[in-house]
Amino acid sequence: MAPFARRLAQVCLSSALALLASACGSDDGDAPPPTPTPVAGYPAPWQRTETREPCDNVAPLRQPFFGDLHVHTRVSADATIYGTKVGPREAYAFALGAPLALSDDMEQPTREARMERPLDFAAITDHSEWFGEVEVCTDPTSAIYDSQRLCGVLRLAEDLPAQQFAATIQWLYPAGIPDPPPSLPFCNTPGVDCDAAAVSVWQEMQAAAEEVYDRSAACGFTSFIGYEHTASTLGQHLHRNVIFRNHHVPHTPASQLETARGGVPQGLWTAIETDCLGAGDGCDAVLIPHNSNLSGGGQFFTPADAAEARRRQDREPLAEIHQQKGNSECRFDRLAGRGVLSEDELCAFEQLPRADEAPFHEPPAIDEYPARNMVRNALKDGLALEQTLGVNPFQFGFIGSTDTHNAAPGNTEERDWEGGEGSQDSSSARRIVNHMDNNPGGLAVVWAEENSRDALFAALRRRETYATSGTRPVLRFFAGTLDGVTCGAPDFLERAYATGTPMGGELGDERRGPSPRFAVMALKDPGTTDNPGTDLQRVQIIKGWVDAEGATHERVFEVAGDPDNGADVDPATCAPRGTGAAELCAVWEDPDFDSSQGAFYYARVLENPICRWSTWTCKAAGVDPFAPDCRAQAETAGSEFAACCLTRDDDPSIQPVVQERAWSSPVWYRPDAIGTLTGAVHFGSRPGTDRLDLSIGLTAAPLGRPADEPVTIELSDDDLIYRETLPSSELMASASSGVALHIRREGLDLSKADRVDHFVSVQITSGLYRATHTRLWHATAATLAPEAAPQ
């Protein structure tokens, strides 16, 4: 197709995606663009940025949605190498329960996978690097098709196994070159429109997402448009997934080739700020780094200053902490008996041996392992950096996902796992010899009112998410005064949202006693008829804090369940043995709480043990990891199965049984966050006669702001209700009562505030200081107010 015709087609496609009338040659006129659908019913605390029917299934106190935000199809060069022949369309169909063809040893699609339970949402995140050049390289009518050297790298990339890795490095990791070109040299050849070529692959992905996104009132499934930004400087895995809020996406996805000059990840941040956030068309995106366990300590780098720390917080509110290529929560070496700044033995879970992806680096000993490869250490360091910089750069929530290269989103079942890397995992032998350290991956779980893009995306932004290691337990976590919140209170959820923050939020010094209260509620995965869920074993709360000297600490508290319940598996059948809990609940206080020390808390729930995927695979191949003569069986089955016999005694991490788990996003305690909030919106009888009466208390002076910086206060739900900027002197400090801000204003128009019980946020900003307080406010005929303290 001639370049002009191709460009026309792409313009038409993007018009189609925006559901606008097109000027592209339709004969009898198109319908006028649909007007945004008016919101009915519950006033959600986020903007609606798209056209769709309102969802029927709305839960004001939120419900969990399960998804996968990290999926590769044949559009990704490395998936193609591994024989994956299906594209985004098939991947979405699999997420919805359709069977999917998988590559066999000979890269033919003769295997099949199918999930028992569909996902609620998914994003296809193929590697954006040279999207366009892939098409150019495969289009024989293209002017440069015959002459390019670099297109050949792709074609060579499926070379003999010994060269695959090097070729993959060349294809996907151009930043390993000291000075990568901003675009491929042949893109400057006359007649070659690389942008047009790049757009078409990207357009195909957008089209696949639109084709499956349920905009009807049933809200059955949400697709997100996204991609993976692939930066691997010097073998450090610094990849991030870009997830867009809606169909307003940049014309070309910013890949590492374009952004490398701006630094990793600052170049990408700038591109997203310019091409998306600043585009003025409703574009919004979050960046989600993953595999910090392979980043050689580089993923969570110390920012240059407070501004960069704030920037990171805003661009990267989440991290993917569990996926096929291992777990990044924390690390413990069973054989050494030590962890990476941790003594938490449960951190010997799905750990990859190496610390980065440089082929010439050996896996480091535990004492040499880069601490910030593990997110718990990054979170602790974030608290320390907050003290020195004034802003915490590492204030991120958790998700899990798969990183499947089979185009199989959510395919996380341990039993009968088909692998995740195409032909590299296409048989039992290959899975064991190539990817014993891998695992089926995790899931992203989002607490949102409804299954729509705006609702789910708002939850990603506010970090009300949790990660699982592949199963579907339900996990709630709240922190605050939690007045009236007990495990027996039928109005537990209303009270928790009214008097505390859910996971992902922050907390100032608000408490009734020596410590704030923390509430955890967990339900086991209900499972299916054929595969019942595993009982829960216990719930822990993990605390990290920084002391007055700037040193960080961590401690794991057992808060519910029984770590010594003796549950295990029947070695003959892998059936679970022993009992656990279907439900666990606790309301807990920190015995060591020190209101002067910044801290984070997150909940971790563990299931009873089950057989690891490798145990199922090995047993099916006739090698029983539990058998005393396992090694003899392995010798009979083939040398590929030697790793089947790894046990606790000879591997730092791998063992035949595992405990699946879920991790809530943390809640951060900040002495300088909003501690007390009292007052109300008073609605007057006539427009313009509303009153605002707010008193805000902070225990410590705000960090990150010059002393005379003005203070802005904002009150918002889905709209901005009220904003005012005050001189710094209004932020009153007194030795006895901390720092306070009082607002009493009359004659206002506060009509933007909805007049039903709903979430309202108060935010204070001053310089780089920012504190946010979001609670369920109560409405009466004349007022809207946060819950008052009990008398």
């Binding site: 198109d30 649909p34 029927d56 339970r117 495969t138 024989p140 074609r155 196994p161 905009r215 339900l523």
Partner: protein, 289 residues
């Protein structure tokens, strides 16, 4: 990446064996060219590959040629620095047709070419509605139910679970307001009301047993205590939405892209049908798999 070297050479062996099987038979020269496949499933890829080769993609493609040189070098078909001879010898062995890398690349190139629409026409409203009518079943949605439930937690109530559930149900039957009764129930992590949800979605909440029971309940009446993995639930179906198909406007985006995709698939099918007429396809059943 701990692949044993034996596999490396086994792969090369397979390539060579494959080369001997797919070489077109000499006695077909002059007639339609024969394409031999091992199974019907491989026909399309084989035709796309053959057409790509017929169009000389492997000779025009710089990289295909470099790949052949590489293979020739590995197999020592000629002196290592004589690229012309290496490529020629690799072709003589048929590796331009059998190398898995090259095959898939050529197939994909040809597929993209074959599926590309000749014009950029978008569907009219009428065409979209016709598409919708023809594919309504694809967008059909199952029956949904909305419910309120009172939850009694097995973990909290232990041995008293059945007794407590029966007592609560008795209260409801005696006319006690649901809100009052809720004060005697336990908190459920997913809330006490589930808005319109499918049976599969309810199975995700309560497990498959309760989901099935809910879809057998009459609307507006409290159920007997229904057992979930968590405890017992007294459930009242509040509303139900029949199975059906969403309105056209709600589906417009999905329909448009389905229409476009269908056109691309049609065009690909037409191209493949044309290719089947061009070549003489044979399915060979003999030989090791």
């Amino acid at each position: 990446m701990n692949r044993p070297p034996a596999l490396h050479f086994a792969l090369l062996g397979a390539l060579l064996f494959g080369a001997l099987r797919l070489w077109p038979s000499a006695d077909e020269a002059g007639a339609r060219e024969a394409v031999v496949v091992r199974s019907a499933a491989e026909i399309d890829d084989a035709l796309l590959l053959r057409e790509a080769l017929a169009r000389g993609f492997d000779e025009r493609d710089h990289i295909a040629r470099a790949r052949l040189v590489e293979l020739g070098r590995t197999l020592r078909l000629a002196p290592a620095d004589d690229e012309v001879a290496l490529e020629r010898q690799a072709r003589a062995l048929g590796l331009h047709q059998t190398d898995p890398l090259l095959r898939r690349h050529l197939i994909e190139m040809m597929r993209l070419s074959a599926a590309s629409p000749a014009d950029a026409a978008m569907p009219t409203d009428g065409e979209l509605r016709a598409y919708f009518a023809a594919h309504a079943a694809d967008y059909a949605q199952p029956e949904r139910r909305a419910l309120t439930h009172l939850y009694l937690s097995g973990a909290r109530r232990g041995a008293a679970l059945d007794r407590d559930a029966a007592a609560l149900l008795a209260m409801l039957h005696a006319g006690r307001d649901a809100a009052d009764a809720a004060a005697l129930a336990d908190p459920f992590a997913r809330g006490s009301q589930i808005a319109l949800a499918t049976r599969a979605q309810l199975a995700g909440v309560f497990g498959p047993g309760v989901a099935a029971a809910v879809f057998a309940l009459p609307v507006g009446q409290w159920s007997e205590p229904l057992p979930s993995p968590y405890g017992l639930h007294l459930i009242r179906v509040d509303t139900q939405a029949a199975a059906g198909t969403p309105a056209f406007e709600a589906l417009r985006g999905r329909l448009l892209h389905g229409w476009l995709r269908e056109r691309a698939d049609d065009r690909l099918r037409t191209s493949l049908a044309g290719l089947r007429r061009l070549y003489d396809v044979r399915i060979a059943l003999a030989g090791p798999q």
